[in-house]
Symmetry: C2
Subunit: 217 residues, 2 copies
Amino acid sequence: MNGALVFDAYGTLFDVHSVQQRCEEFWSGSGAKLSQLWRAKQLEYTWQRSLMGRYVPFAQVTREALAYACEALGLGLDERRSEALMNEYRNLALYPDVPASLARLRAAGRKLAILTNGSPDMIGPLVRNRGLQETFESVLSVDELGVYKPAPQAYQLAVDRLGVAAAGIGFVSSNCWDAIGAKCFGFAVYWINRGGAPVDRTGFLPDRVIGSLADIA
Amino acid sequence: MNGALVFDAYGTLFDVHSVQQRCEEFWSGSGAKLSQLWRAKQLEYTWQRSLMGRYVPFAQVTREALAYACEALGLGLDERRSEALMNEYRNLALYPDVPASLARLRAAGRKLAILTNGSPDMIGPLVRNRGLQETFESVLSVDELGVYKPAPQAYQLAVDRLGVAAAGIGFVSSNCWDAIGAKCFGFAVYWINRGGAPVDRTGFLPDRVIGSLADIA
């Protein structure tokens, strides 16, 4: 049992770059670039808005980041394409190592939860569309706090809602900055480094660096 | 006279990418890429550390971002090269439109100041090395606050120190996120968009978009 295991969603369980295919359909040859820039700006905007004290839900941040990215790359974006791409975010693919690993952890009796930046209108449909609604005891969104990770309040939400002390929470993220934020807060942290990225230099280190979710299960 | 004119430093007056030449000397063919990634990570780290409540001075953030960028690009970084590149940050070039424009504004009796993320050990030598120590009435650093832009406290520092109300302060930045943070706070904002970038979508717009500092002078 050992406390709870809390997962980041976007980039950790769900592959944000599975939007690339639809991007490519709309703008042939630009799918990969658009997907990368869209994601980069989405994250930047969460940090900047949190610092400015001007939170808006993740769906709006994501839509605004898409508009920026398309303009930067000279890609014409209309309402129809914007909606179609936002809809992709409710149908992101699971990473290949995720389904079997989650099933194994669940079978072992671990208490599993999601802690995400995603607003309920995004993360709820995504979890259902991927058939994970029975897997997680809780799907926690920073939306009720009005501030994004890596603010400590975001991680505190898991402590409060799961009723488990920080030291009893194992936190799993593929986003290094998120893993570091969680470590700074006091969780035991697994960083899934699927792509062999360098570790970020922001004062803390994940407890364990793993190549896939299977390494926990 | 009309109140004060407050300038961002890095990327606005001083060209952060003038480090590129020294990068290129050290790692031929990688100068531009390294300079871009170094800057991108430097900014990310300021936002992430501010949100985590784990401020360290800009000199440390800059050094840590350099270490990340070199590892990501597979470039061997030793202490000597790290120090040499950090020293470049105290000798950044002024953008071509800056010297004459500042001189004209100064001659017109405008109260000029700098408001920067840069820690005093970085911004002080840089201002002196570029011969600007007589140009600015104040060089204000967020270092005394322990939080980076675009947190509102950073902009409040200019109000407090210059003794001018927010509405009486004209703020000039080439960093769109900084221009937006300043506008959100209540300054009248000029965004110098030298490169024709899209405007960021984070809820506010600069009052004026200009191509060069000469457009204010």
